[in-house]
């Protein structure tokens, strides 16, 4: 099976549509959305609608910290992330908010465990930025039987962690478009990057495809109309910073 792994869409419908089209061209059979469907971006309702439709063909959807914030916006604004939460809240229909509130933190699919942040306390939204955090997440994932792969988002970067010659995890920065062999006799953890808000200096959207038969994981970068996405943010009257960020991929 070819499973598309998309995370951190952040209300960016232009990037989501580009990735969905790209994934369909890769003969992807199933979609998994690893949380943060909304927040920052200008089209949260459209994104949620598109993804709800995909659940009818078996798409897996997880909850991210921004989804939780949009459903229950913070009373006082502490961070830039909080600032868009109440706006997003108003954009979503009551039905959409109800659906988002019921989303799970994790999903276990045979050898694969999906989680928005870290499997080590999924509701705590820990960032998997380094080998140490990745080890904690992978160890926690071993509580689910038969897990060989852990996939998450949250950090907006594409990184693959694997067990090297010793027990500790090694970190690998993948090359976009090159299938990486991920045989099942090892354990792997990957952060699949962000569809709607890349932060590595490249504005192209990120996602990944796991081919379970071939045991290959391919990280992708997809160009999309990020100027339109930025323009939509400006039109919606959201902070300029979020528009500018999409244009530069930072």
């Amino acid at each position: 099976m070819r499973l598309a792994l998309l995370s951190d869409i952040h209300g960016n419908i232009q990037a989501l549509d580009a990735c969905l089209a790209h994934a369909r061209a890769q003969q992807v059979q199933r979609f998994a959305f690893l949380g943060d469907l909304v927040g920052y971006g200008a089209n949260p309702a459209e994104v949620v609608e598109r993804i709800t439709l995909l659940t009818e063909e078996g798409a897996i959807v997880l909850k991210g910290n921004h989804d939780e914030m949009a459903v229950h916006p913070p009373a006082t604004i502490k961070t830039v992330g909080d600032s868009t939460a109440s706006w997003t809240h108003q954009q979503l229909s009551p039905l959409q908010r109800l659906w988002m509130d019921t989303l799970p933190f994790t999903h276990h699919l045979e050898t694969v465990l999906l989680v928005h942040a870290s499997a080590d306390g999924p509701e705590l939204w820990r960032y998997v930025y380094d080998q140490r955090a990745a080890t904690a997440s992978l160890n926690a994932a071993n509580e689910w039987p038969g897990v060989r792969y852990v996939f998450g988002g949250h950090v907006h970067l594409q990184t693959l962690y694997y067990r090297g010659a010793t027990d500790g995890l090694m970190m690998f920065t993948p090359q976009a478009g090159v299938p990486v062999p991920v045989p099942k006799h090892r354990q792997w953890l990957a952060t699949v990057g962000s569809v709607g808000q890349p932060r590595d200096g490249n504005p192209q959207a990120m996602y990944a495809v796991l081919d379970t038969e071939r045991a290959q994981l391919t990280f992708h970068r997809v160009p999309y109309d990020h100027y339109s996405a930025a323009a939509a943010i400006r039109r919606a009257g959201l902070p300029e910073f979020f528009a500018h960020r999409l244009e530069e991929g930072r």
Binding site: Q131, L160, Y162, G164, A165, T166, G168, M170, F172, P174, Q175, V178, V180, P181, P183, K184, H185
Partner: protein, 506 residues
């Protein structure tokens, strides 16, 4: 896994005979079990002795080899056919290459002739370069892992310790340890650096040293401390062990064996270049020395090496791009000053400011220009004249970080000669004039740049002539304007020398 008998089948392959039985693996000749014809070449199957259950490094390196073999292409490695499931039936089927390993020459009559050493070295360096261009570093090059085909080309074997920049390095460890064969391993590998193409250049240097002297430059150290020695110790100069060895060859070998990767050839293509152009090797004290490095120097290096530690290296292919071999085709007749000036400017830009790039200035003369009977037109004399002129032209481009060499090719087909040269020497960039000849003949010879452009194995820069206004009108000469520090006042004072006779190149 136990030795398989001829006739046994495994996953669709029939075993014919065991051709190698090593400590790590058995290798068999195989054919398809269902009788269908082979893939167009003979096949060999490698089966590791250990299984996944043993959990040893052995099986990891087999995993690495399967992974990398599937990604490689080209003539310098055996072609991949199939790989079995690592957990249940680990095996690797690949092209069976016929030939002798390099060990054959080390075991044969000694000493090995200089010409043979050169040919083997060139083949080895070219194959290593082809591998590096695919973002892979071998990291375990040794005589047993190099196979020479009948036609003289080298095939590299055994990728169990290799590193492909596009894949996670399964052999990397947090506590960096040396992985490789002690006699051939590069100093940076000793401190755990994996992925630097210059590590392979070092291993080739060890093999060249063996071919030259019959001895290993650093012996076969058994301890970690013994391994670390090569971080600061220079080997005994080969000429001390073999007096008839030319200085240029010692220069080449010892440059490969420099403890600091940055002092070695920046790429295997550069090494192949020097080996194929002995007269162009810049021989220093490193090549002429027959005494050995004094204790004081070693001691100073030892202090420096004590602080050496692991540093990640960039993508091999990117590293190669930073040290291009730039070839410039310099016309020798019907050429204007403007063309020569613009060519030199373009070459300076292509070489860049980074050290390590090398420049080959090439001119093609027709065979009719030399004569066996006329002393004045003898090949040596004619070539020398053109070489001198080329050197004068390229002088302003001399830069301590760049190596420059000049070559006169003799051929009736200019474009083909340039293309053959570029292909044979792994040239990364060709620079030539958009029109190489005067306007009168352009109708006929403009096809040279076009022909080169169509078949060029690399980037081609076609230079349009463009000369500062003050220079227009002065006669054409190969030894014309300096490329750098060009200013108005220079132009005025420099006007006189342009009146010189054009010599053989005008």
């Amino acid at each position: 896994m136990k030795l398989l008998e001829p006739g046994a089948t495994l996953d669709g392959f029939t075993i014919e005979e065991c051709i190698h039985s090593g400590g790590m693996a058995h290798i068999y000749r195989v054919v398809y079990a269902d009788g269908r014809p082979g893939p167009g070449f003979a096949m060999a199957m490698k089966i590791p002795r250990m299984t996944a259950g043993d959990g040893a490094e052995n099986i990891v390196s087999f995993e690495v080899e399967c992974q990398i073999m599937q990604a490689l292409h080209g003539n310098s490695t055996p072609r991949f056919v199939a790989a079995g499931d690592l957990q249940h039936t680990p095996y690797l089927v690949m092209e069976y290459v016929q030939g002798h390993t390099l060990q054959h020459w080390l075991d044969g009559p000694q000493p090995v002739a200089v010409d043979t050493i050169t040919q083997l070295g060139v083949a080895l360096a070219r194959s290593a370069h082809a591998l590096h261009q695919q973002n892979t570093v071998h990291l375990d090059l040794k005589p047993a892992n190099v196979l020479l085909r009948e036609d003289g080309s080298a095939v590299l074997l055994d990728f169990g310790l290799s590193c492909h920049a596009h894949y996670p390095d399964l052999l990397a460890e947090q506590l960096r340890k040396a992985v490789g064969s002690p006699a051939w391993i590069a100093p940076e590998q000793v401190v755990g650096v994996r992925g630097d193409p210059r590590s392979d250049v070092f291993a080739i240097g060890v093999m060249l040293y063996q071919l030259c002297t019959g001895e290993l430059p650093f012996g076969t150290p058994q301890t970690a401390a013994g391994l670390r020695q090569r971080l600061w110790v220079d080997p005994t100069p080969p000429r001390k062990l073999r007096a008839d060895l030319p200085a240029w060859l010692q220069e080449v070998v010892l440059r490969c064996l420099e403890p600091e990767a940055a002092r070695r050839y920046p790429s295997a293509a550069h090494l192949a270049f020097d080996l194929s152009h002995p007269t162009q090797v810049h021989v220093t004290q490193r090549g002429t020395n027959t005494v050995g490095t004094p204790f004081r120097t070693h001691f100073k290096r030892w202090l420096k090496a004590a602080g050496m530690h692991y540093q990640p290296s960039p993508l091999p292919a990117r590293q190669l791009q930073e040290v291009p071999i730039v070839m410039v085709a310099v016309p020798h007749k019907d050429v204007t000053d403007a063309t020569l000036y613009s060519l030199r400017e373009a070459v300076a830009r292509a070489l860049g400011t980074r050290p390590g790039a090398r420049l080959a200035c090439v001119t093609v003369i027709s065979s009719s220009q030399t004569s066996a009977s006329d002393e004045d037109k003898s090949e040596t004399n004619v070539h020398r004249r053109y070489l001198t002129a080329l050197r004068q032209w390229s002088q302003p481009l001399d830069h301590p970080g760049h190596q420059t060499s000049c070559h006169v090719l003799e051929s009736g087909d200019v474009a083909q000669a340039l293309l053959d040269y570029a292909r044979g020497n792994h040239v990364s960039v060709i620079v030539m004039g958009a029109a190489t000849h005067g306007l009168m003949t352009q109708r006929f010879v403009a096809t040279v740049p076009i022909k080169v452009a169509m078949d060029a194995p690399c980037t081609l820069i076609l230079v349009k002539q463009n000369l500062p206004f003050a220079q227009l009108g002065s006669p054409a000469s190969l030894n014309a304007a300096p490329a750098k520090g060009y200013s108005d006042s220079d132009a005025d004072s420099a006007a006189a020398p342009y009146g010189d006779d054009l010599g053989p190149l005008g």
